[in-house]
Symmetry: C2
Subunit: 321 residues, 2 copies
């Protein structure tokens, strides 16, 4: 059932030997919320252990530098930032149906836990974790907790850029500053540092940029060859794939990504063009400003198909390329 922060703190007080679950393909919010909760429970004298199907990526190591997971048979299970048990990943399937408490901010949360707090208005689960920290009189919001909460909020809001950011997100960040969080280091690691493979794929993708329809449309592509050659991971493509729509004057940004026997096409559009209608014509769908579809065949086939669809949307004649 749905519970309040105060009730959540009561439940946590009654628990011990707690496993804290993070979702697979972990991000800054699930790990930040998970480790913040671990440090809170530690101050309460309780044993807890953070678990994640994919382990803990090393860029987040500042959050678990002094963390040594303890072995124990769990008596309680808490899931953080996990909307659905399917996001546990195979390694944590054993906890399905066994979650006592879920702390989350996804509106799509499946309410699979015995008790839950799901604050949809929060930009990050870490914002809820701050309130839980304050819910225990004897717990101090230490620098290590502040680093975790700041990480959750800043990563889930794209460093306060995304439209999910709220005044409350900024207020939380301001309090984490007061608690001494190392925001400059965290921001450098999260938003500046790029891997060698990321730099390599960025270079390759920039070399594919082409403009159409009087530069109102920009297109890039990523082939399997490019991924292999650079050693880039899919997780490193996020910012790269968004690039076409970040070019001034571009109304339609197209990114083609090679998959088995075809190309996955992502479309990002401004106010003028409905991306979901365009992708719909090619059997895909999505939202007004962001949609996708799949076109079987080679690069030229996929390009031709999507450019034909875009041409109709602009409905004022020929491509200039």
């Amino acid at each position: 059932m749905e519970i309040t922060v105060a009730e959540c703190c009561e439940r946590l007080r009654e628990m011990d030997d707690i496993v804290i679950l993070c979702h697979r393909n972990p991000d800054g919010d699930t790990l930040g919320s998970g480790f913040a909760l671990h440090y809170i429970l530690k101050q309460l004298g309780k044993r807890s252990r953070v678990e994640c199907h994919d382990g803990f990526p090393k860029q987040y190591s500042y959050m678990f530098r002094d963390y040594a997971p303890e072995e124990f048979e769990p008596k309680a299970v808490v899931a953080v930032d996990i909307a659905d048990e399917q996001l546990f990943g195979d390694g944590l399937e054993k906890y399905c149906g066994r979650v006592d408490l879920c702390i989350d901010h996804h509106g799509s949360n499946k309410h699979y836990a015995k008790d839950w707090i799901v604050r949809e208005t929060a930009a990050a689960t870490a914002e809820v974790m701050e309130d839980i920290c304050y819910g225990f009189e004897e717990v101090t919001l230490t620098k290590e907790i502040a680093d975790c909460i700041y990480t959750g909020v800043s990563t889930d809001t794209g460093c306060f850029r995304y439209s999910n950011t709220t005044g409350h997100s900024h207020a939380v960040a301001g309090r984490m500053f007061k608690a001494g969080c190392d925001f400059a280091m965290i921001n450098r690691v999260m938003f500046e540092l790029k891997s060698l493979s990321r730099i390599a794929i960025e270079k390759e993708v920039l070399n594919t940029v082409e403009y159409h329809f009087n530069k109102r449309c920009a297109l890039v592509y990523i082939t399997s060859d490019m991924m292999e050659r650079t050693g880039a991971l899919d997780s490193e493509l996020e910012g790269v794939a968004a690039m076409p729509r970040e070019i001034e004057g571009v109304e339609v940004g197209i990114t083609l990504r090679q998959r088995d026997n075809g190309f996955k096409i992502s479309l990002r559009t401004g106010d003028e063009v409905d991306a979901s209608v365009l992708c719909g014509r090619l059997g895909g769908g999505g939202h007004r400003c962001a949609a996708g579809c799949f076109v079987p065949g080679d690069l030229e086939t996929a390009k031709a198909a999507i450019l034909e669809a875009v041409k109709e949307a602009f409905n004022d004649g020929e491509d200039d390329q």
Copy 2:
């Protein structure tokens, strides 16, 4: 003389027909603070006009969409975010020695005005402008003022990433959200949108990346040819030039920029290497983590000179390239 916010508000109350000066090569803080002040004065029933030697770049147009500069003979002059009269630019030289009030946050402020507020602890002059707004009981912090103040704070802090960001910066941003600022649009314009020439120079620069000393050193260069070919402006190079030091594992990032008869070299280093010592050997200087020098001659000469200096710093043998 140095005055408080309350005194500043008194001074402004006594003024009318006010010219508000922004610094040359205007940025988000000088323009945001300037227009915020203009809208505050308008609510007080006063005439004011914002002036800048270089005009108002169009990416900031959301701040002056409904602004129509009025013609009048100025009776008072207020400078915002300008540390030194030399930053007025030729077009505004006539105001030298005539500034009644200066509102700023630069520790280097020359105190050239009759009265001044210089809050060195503020990440942006716009943070001071917020207090000035609250200093007038009858002034409402409208959406248009909030857009201006948010712009100043977010641009001067690199969207809350730079080390000058404070908890107060976040608190200010949170209040601008409550006042309805259009942060998503502003962040898109300030931090996402790139010009065609910026994309073109980015591509060219990425194609120059080379690694040395077991990838602990990365080097890029920008020739006059590249600038001409892409039509990029120096102001568009900022993020591009910083790229080498954003590569994971890179201790020394080198950017070479062609100038008349030689190359200007910028060095960015991590904790291990003192950039100012290295650049000092080539007749330059700077700080521990950021320094520069100039090497006359062609690209190969400049590269060889700086790589030789870096080699000594690593003092463990040969370059691997």
